[in-house]
Structures are given as C-alpha cells and as structure tokens.
Subunit: 341 residues, 4 copies
C-alpha cells in the first residue's frame, strides 16, 4: 500500500506513521519529495490488516491500495478459462454461445411448458424461470414458490433443458438446489454474503448477477466469496447498472463483459432483459453482448408478455425470440462462437 | 394509471388496449388528442395487476403510474408521526435528538466498554456496534459473531444503554434479536426482503438503512415490507448514496431526510460515518442532518480509530465525539430538539 | 400533458386547475378516480407554454409529459435515415462503417503526418486531431490552436483524408470551420447552446458528443438545436457517461447507440477511446459498437502513445490500430456494413 | 506520482519505466515488493508533463497522483478565507449569511420590480434574475436578453440591490458585465473554459456553479481557471448533482459545502431551488445549507410561480420567501452568521 502524508508533515509525524506501518506487519519505504512524503508499505495486502485505518491519522492524507484484492477469480498467474459443465453442456470460453431463456416468473404449468418447448426448439439449452421473486413492493406477485420449482423440474424432465432459477432466501437453499441446475443470485442480493456462502456450499454452479451500483471490483470480490467457499463454478452476469438515464430501466454495461473477461477466468453471461427493461431493445443488446465476448445470454421469453404477472414490458414473445436466434447468428459466427444447430 | 398510446394509433388498436385495461379490472377513460391518445385507467393500483405490462403492446408508448405505491408508511390521510419507544426512551418527531454511537465493529471487551462508557457520558443513549460485519472482501474481518453480541448485552447491563446491531443473516435472527434493542438492516441488505420480513417478525424496532443506489420510493417500499409484516416500529436511516464523486466514500444525501419526513410518518436517522467515510467531515454532516430534521444520529466512535479492525478512517475518537456533542448543541436548539442534559 | 392532482382535492381546487389549464391554451379533460383526479390536457406541448409550472400549485401532485419534445431529429413520421456526405464519402445507415482516427491532440507536423499516413493506410477516411483542447486543469496542454488547424489542413491535402476537429469557443468558429470538414462539439460543451448554434450556422456537418451525464432525451434535444438552426448534417456521438465505476474513465453506453438509431434518423458514431479511457479495451468496445449498429468509429491513434501530450493511456499505437481494423472485419460483415478495401 | 508496475515485471521492464520517468523530469524511487514494484516519482506534478501516459505502457498497471492539482484555490499554506465585497457588502467566512433572491427568468418590468421590492424587504441584498436562459429544448423561452439586463440595472438603481445574472455566451460578456455585479456561470457551462476565462477577465466577481456530474476536484479546477486568469473573487455554488434519484430534479449535495470550505478559501453559496427543483423542499434545504457552513443562499422567488415562464415548480412565492427568512433565523444564529436586520 501507499501511504501519502500531508504536505510539510514534520519528521516526528513521519516517524510515527512509519512505526505504525511496521507494527501492522508491513515493511515501510519512505520516499521524501519536496512537498510531500509518501511511504510505500511492502507486504501482502490480502492477509495483513488494512492500512486504510491510517487515513484517520492527522499526518495522513490518503492511503492507496496497490494490490488487487481478489486472488481466486483473477486471471493473473495465467489461469486457464473456467469452463462450467451443466448437465453435460460445456459453457465458457471457446464453447458455443449458451442460450438461457424462459419467463420472468413461473406462472402456471401451461405457461411454463409452452415457453420451454418454444425456447428449446429455438436453440436454448437452459430454461430460466423465477419461482421466488424479489419485488420492490410487498403488494406485487412474489412467485409460486415450491410449486414453481416443481414445474421447472417437470420442464427439465420433459424437454431436457437445464434449469436456472433464483435463490432468494438462505432458508430455501436446499429446496432450490434440489430443483435447479444453476442457482441464480439476483442483483439485490449480490452482496448478501451469507446467501452467497450458502449457495456456494450446495456445490451447484452459481450465476452471480452484478448489483445495481456495484463497481466491477466489488462484483469480482462477491464472486471471490463463492470461490473462497469452495465452489469454482461461477458465472458472472451483467444485467444493467443504475445510472441517471431514464429511457431504459437500467443501463446495460457491455464494457463490463470485456473487463470481466480480461480480469477473470470466469464465464460471463449477459441479461439484456433486465439490462434495458424494454423488449424492443433486447435483440440489439444481444448482438452487442456477443461481440463483446459474452459466453451466454439470459433472455426473458413469455408466450404472452402483455399478460405476464411480472415485467411484461421486457419479455420477448416466442416469435421475437425466434427472430433473436436468427439475427444473432452472424454475430456468433463473427465472434467464433457459433451455436450448433 | 395512464396508458399513453403511440402517435397516430388507429382506432382498432385503441379499442384493443381499452378492452385489455377493462380485462385487468380497471375502468378506462380514453382522451384523444390531435396526435396521441391517452387512456386514464381508474382503479386501485396497489391491488390490481399492474398495467405496466401493457408497455409490451405495439400500440403503447408508455405507462405512467399515478398513485403512490406505499400505503402504510405514507403520511397521507393525516397520520400522526410515529414515535418509537426503546427501553423507555421515546424517539421521533418532537422528541430530543437521539444519539446512537459506538464502534463500527465490536472488537474486544475493553474496546467496547471503554467506548460505551465514553459515549454514555457524552450523552448517547444507544450503543452501536457490529457483531456480524458485511465486508466487501472475504478476506476482511467478519465480526466476532455471538461473542460480540454478548459483549453488547454486557455493555447494556453495565451502562444502561440500549443496543443497536446489524442483522446480516436470516439464520441469526433470533440470536441477534435476543441481544439487540434495535435490529439494523444494512445498506447491502436493504432489498433482501426475506431478511426484512424475518426482522419485522421479531417485534423489535428495525432501523432500515437506505441502499447505495435506492431511490427514495424503493426505500419507502422496503419499509413498507416491514410494516406490512406487522411491525410499525421502523426507523429510516440515510447513510449515503453511491454517486460519481470520489472525494467521499458515499454522498450523504441530506435532502432524503427532508423528503422522508415529508412523505412518511417514520422517524429518520442519519449515519454520517458511513455517509461520508471520513472522520473529518462527520461533525459538519451532523449539523446539516439536524437542520434538515433528523430525529437521531448514528455515529461511529472508537477509542483508537487508527487501530480499528474496520473502517478506522471514518470513526471518531472520544475527544472528537465530545466535541461533536458540544458543537451540535446550538443546532439541536435551533431545530427545537435540544438534548436533555 | 397529464396533471395529477393530490388525493382528495376538493371540487373547488379541481376547477381552479382546470381553468388554469384552459388559460394556458390546452383543452382539459378531467378524469376522476376514487382517490385522485387527473386532468389530461390536450394541446401541442412543443408550442404552448409548459404546464410544468402547475407543479407549484397546492392542488397538484405532479405533471407528466406525453409528447416527445424533439420534432426534427425524431424518426417519427417515417423519416428516412440521414446520410451525410463528407468530401464525397457517404456516412450513415446502409453505408460501410466509417473510420475516423488520429491523435488526441495535434502535437507536431511529424506526429500528425505519421499518424495520418498510418490511419489512411489502415482504412480510415477521416482524420481526427485536437487543435483546441478542453482540459480539466488550467496547467495542462491546451492545444496548438491555429497552428494545429493548419497542420490538419496540410494532412488533408497530403493524404486525402477529411478532417474532424473540436470547436471549443464561439470566437474560433470561423477559423475552425475553415480547416475542418466536420466540427466536433465535445462532451463538456454539449449543452453550450450558443456554441451549438454558431457551429450549426457554418453549414459544416457537426458531430455532437453526448455529455457526461446527459440523458438521451437531452442529447437529442441538443441535436434539435443544431437542426433547428438549419443544419441537417448532424452526427450523434456516444463517448461514455459518468457513473460510479472507477475501473474505466467513463462507462461507454453502447445501449445509447441502439436507442439513438431507434429514436432518430441521424447517424451514430462511437468514440471508444474517451468511452473507456484505456487502450486495452478499445478493440473490444469497437466490436460491440458495430454490433449495436454504429455508423462509424472515432478512435484515438498516436505513433507513440506513451509520449503523447494528452491522454496517452487511451490512444492506440499504429500496430494496435491495424489489429483493430483486422479484428472488427467479421463484425462489420455481420452487421452488413463491410468496409470496402 | 506513483507508478504501479504489473506483478512480476522483469528487471528490464522496470528499468525501462524508470528511464522514462527520468526523461519526463521526475526523480524515480523504485520500491520492490514481493509481488509488485512501485516507483515513486518525485517532482512537481503541476508543472511537469503528466506521468499518466505511462498507463499505456505494457509494464504499468496504474498511475496514481499524489499532489493536489489546484494551487490557487487551495486552503493549503494557511491562506486566509477570501471575502468578496460586492457594492460594499462583504460576503464570505465570518460575515452574515448573504441572501441572493429573485426570479428564475426576468419576464417583465412589473414582475421584476415586484420581486425586487419584496426580496429586498425580506432581507435579500442581491437580486438574481436570468436574462439569457440556457434551456434544454430550443422551443422553450430563452430569456429577454439585453432587455432583461436593462431591467436588472433598473432594479438595482431603484432598490439598491446588487445584481447577479448568468453569462451564457462569450459574445455577450461585455454586455452582461456592464449590468451585473456578479457574473453567474451555470452548471452546463462549468467546464466551458473559454467562457470562464472571458468572465474572469471582466474583473467582476464570478459565481461558478458546480456542473451536474462534476467531481469536487473538477469544480475546484474550474475555479482554478478563474483565479489563474487573474480574478480572485470567485464564489463556488453547489446546485445539485445528477444521480439516479427521480423524486427531486437533482440531488443537492450539501456535503460539498463542507468539503469546499475545508479544501478552499473561497466563499460557498447554495442554490436550493435548482438543487431540488421543488419549492416545497427549498426551506428545509436552506436550513441544511446554513448548518453545513454556506456563506450565502441563491433562491428563486417569483410573485406568481404558477405563471412563471420557466421553472415555476421550484420558485417560492413572496410569502414563502418571507417564511424562509423567518425560519432560517435560528440556524444562522446557531451557525454564528446572523443576518443584521
């Protein structure tokens, strides 16, 4: 770490800071400029106590980290890309683009099976569907719960699709893990570390959505919680961040795809439906996501979006989803990730 | 709700939308302009299905809500201000400013008791201290857990202070409620609705921090979850939002205090320590908070901030806390909220 | 517009609002719900005085716009895509991707000519280079001024490249227009309306960068100033918005490309260099931009970025620019916008 | 500056970076950690070329500034607070709170004189009023121009109020300076450096509004442009920043007041009208601003806000302004800044 002292700090003050840096287990290297002294503190920042508390000292202007804070998710040390196998399908770098699709919420057997059949036919291999729904208002539909999970399992049996569904509550972990092939952690729970740890320990692959105002470093550190809990099978999922823009529900940050691929060895999925909150932009967002290097897409599809029980405005109907699969094809080719048909 | 149709939508399309509005249980009132038609849909938006799904219709440009989405936290209907009684102390509108103070994390018996004695002497009535700590990195100190809770209970017995501490995990709810007088829900869990419901059901007062990128409406709807779960004793706590600014850790949004007081009947607390993340700004922030109408302050105090195990840079030492209490006094007077001494 | 009255507004208050709406030239249509009355006000919102002032009335809760505020940039009314011809080259929908490239600042004849030759050879048709530089600090290099402009003219003569350069000051308008083929309005001046009007009146095509915190509607309204001043040849340029993220200098908002193409008939250019502020991400950003429908790219290229006088960290060297042109080729093909070689 | 090298950079690469740092005029001090080497570069960062270009080097992970970039606005070096005298009235630290009030736009002689008389009577000493208005849409009222300026001059003559009005265009500088006692630079022009320089050179005091998404450092550097152009009489004005919140038009960042007072010697003014965009919050915002240390307030007042030609929703009527002056009185007392009556 670098400890920057205030301009014109007297020698006594500099010494005091240096001794404290030593006391905290770092090796201090002071460098005196004309105006300011800085002290480079050598030591492993991930194991020692943080020097950031020194910011509270009267002599100290600021403390800057040097080392990256994540150790397991980093690409450093030439780690190979992680490929995650879900019911026989390999997902990750070098693999064909993975299509995850399905309704925002599981609403009924008919709704789910219709959708499952359609997305399977269009080329999706993983079925999404929320059984437990986090809703901004307590008066909105909260999901079918266990009944929804059972319908998802049924759809898997019937159509051979893998299942991804959201885990909302620590208390439901075993139940959800029993029915899901991938556990989804939603944006609102992206720093609910207890839930992350519980999810990781099921051994199931976990898809970690980026929180609404999560810096990329924080997102990767949340993923670090999953890996540090013994689960290497983590998908990062960009789903839009909160900005000042009001045209879209969120601002889909496609640069995060390139950055996550550059910084980590984990597969990256893009959720364009949450990402923009408008069905009429989803297809364009998918093209961009593929070009930026996404390993998969998570798309909301509903047989009749205008009658959906949640987020109808962002769900594609079956014919639009078919169009999506068609028009992204040149881009998956260009990206060297063609889907096998 | 207001459904805005696209310019020049033909009559057939307008009729189709009107019929769907009826089907969803609303009474449609179309108003035809020269360019665009809008349909006002009469009905209770909090009980019917949402018309927002209509946004997915080709005829529809946008759907606007009219009614507010919160029913219990609102001041509408001339509800009186909520006063919350914590171990005999009344907190809320018309009451003296409530001072909650203590260390970021409980670290040891000596650290906690020293702080408790000091903040009590300075005028605080509630002791804060984290036993379970949500940390961005898995490699940071995660709190003493149950041991920390027991130390908090001991401090209450010894100094007659009430205890506020954070609840992080559904699984710990009973344990934390056993030791705490107020359950704190942190910013990262502000939309962890399962945790909110569990916390509410303990019957203990709950302090709900605003999430880093929570709109005020979302914050009030999260509070609505608490009230809808049967717990009327909810403190709203502003603790800084995430913006583009880097000088401070967060941007303390003091306007949120005035807005929350105007929109709701709940007491509002300000956390200036998290809010700016710099000890050298805390006192000024407290003055502003009081002037804006805050009912209480939640301040981090540590006997030796530069050696704190977490967030040392934002904790006041005892002498600064004493100064804080002294210099805010004219402002509590000005606000008509003098502390009894 | 829609005027939403407060719940339980008495009849007298409703009447008062209705009369004011009439006085302001709108035709009021009140719709009374059980709790709230809304008044739809029919009239052309772009010519009448705004009803937003009604928000100041005690009876009024909010005022919502219905109509879009831009009339000339909109795609509504089936306007065809605008194609802009710059020294014989057509740019816009259906045309090959347009490559604009060159140094952040013009520094010297050698630097500029070397770059011009290299980017021309790689396939660029337009040379960028700042002669007047807006710099955050007054102590940073402010550009070569007129000398820089003359070097740009010389490069045009020598290499047959068109020139785009930034206009910073009303006072320099004629001078810059004399040397430039496209006038660039930078992000900091995107709502400097006097400069926009001056730029428009030169008759030269204008490239309007999106401001750091400009909503898309505001960006399009700034473009509307240009068209309303009689200049139809406007490029919209996305160059990153300001968010909470710190990994990149700005967050390149590629969704804005799709939205601008959907809402307007104007060509859209993406500046990935400013957009992320890191050379190592530029190529990926370009792929995404092309997939999202960009009509052109504006890329910073410098013969020796590490010795650039401004923004070296985001400029590509010549070999990276050559690589860029090579690797985007499959994506321009996929987007149906192949460059002719 | 601190140059952080990538982990495991070989000696040759380290040497190459060190030589470049020397070449750029800094004295390099390498400090080798187990994993990473950092190089502290000693030299005056405000005069040398920036090392930030080194970020483009393959060996370099990041470059961190140590020194502050502003030299004239800083409080460092124990500079005394700047007090600005406007037509005999001293404004700044230690002086009574300065009240600037008046309409958003000058609309007519009657409107302006009525307001001027009322705000004078209530205790304001400076009259605000826009003659040139920057408007998001070209179809909105753009101000009376020179006619408005003459009305302001007339109000000064009649009521003995000083005049503050916005300068929008370099071309109007002399004209506006002829009529104004303080030149206001609006948020949209806060980084229009050419306009800043022109304004500074008039010799009139300048009030610099913070831009919508300006970091505090950038705001202070924009002020640095004014001081570096020879004008020491600069007011900083916080007027709300752009965030994700939609309840208010902007988020008034009162913490910026405390920070600007701490970092600089300049007086700080708060504009609560723009800051929240809602008349019903202005009074509370003023209380907060005073408590945070503001030296003055800039408040929009209109004789009939609901019929204002711009921004009626945020303007106070005369009776509310009188109430404002009354209710802030205890807070100006508490802040030691009582207005003389």
């Amino acid at each position: 770490m670098i400890v920057v002292l205030k301009p014109h700090t007297p020698t006594g003050g500099i010494d005091r800071v240096i001794r404290e840096i030593e006391r905290l287990g770092y090796k201090p290297h002071p460098v005196c400029g004309d105006i300011q002294t800085i002290v480079a503190a050598i030591g492993d920042e991930t194991t020692h106590g943080s020097l950031e508390t020194l910011t509270a000292w009267p002599e100290v202007e600021s403390v800057m980290r040097v080392q990256k804070r994540y150790k397991l998710v980093t690409r450093e040390g030439d780690r190979p890309d992680t490929t995650i196998t879900v019911r026989g399908q390999k997902i990750g770098a070098g693999q064909p683009l993975c299509l995850m699709a399905g309704p925002c919420s599981v609403e009924s057997e008919t709704q789910l099976m219709t959708t499952a059949e359609a997305v399977k036919k269009a080329g999706a291999t993983i079925l999404r569907g929320g059984a437990f729904k986090p809703r901004t208002s307590p008066y909105e539909f909260q999901g079918l719960g266990e009944k929804g999970l059972k319908l998802l399992s049924k759809a898997r049996d019937e159509f051979g699709l893998s299942i991804i569904t959201e885990l909302l509550s620590e208390a439901d972990t075993d139940l959800v893990a029993e029915h899901a092939d991938i556990l989804q952690i939603g944006a609102r729970n992206s720093q609910n570390f207890q839930l992350l740890i519980r999810a990781a320990k099921t051994g199931k692959p976990v898809l970690l959505k980026r929180g609404l105002s999560m810096r990329i470093e924080e997102w990767l550190l949340a993923a670090e919680y999953l890996l540090a809990s013994g689960n290497p099978n983590v998908f990062l999922c960009e789903r839009g961040i909160r900005t000042f823009e009001t045209y879209t529900r969120n601002t889909l940050d496609l640069s995060a795809v390139a950055i996550a691929k550059k910084e980590t060895h984990l597969p990256v999925i893009v959720d364009p439906s949450q990402g923009c909150g408008r069905a009429d932009l989803v297809i364009e967002m998918c093209k961009g996501a593929i070009a930026m290097g996404a390993d998969g897409l998570l798309v909301e599809v509903h047989p009749n979006p205008s009658q959906a029980w949640s987020d109808g405005q962002q769900q594609l109907d079956v014919s639009l989803f078919n169009e999506l699969v068609r028009v992204i094809s040149p881009f998956t080719q260009a990206a060297g990730r063609p889907q096998t048909t």
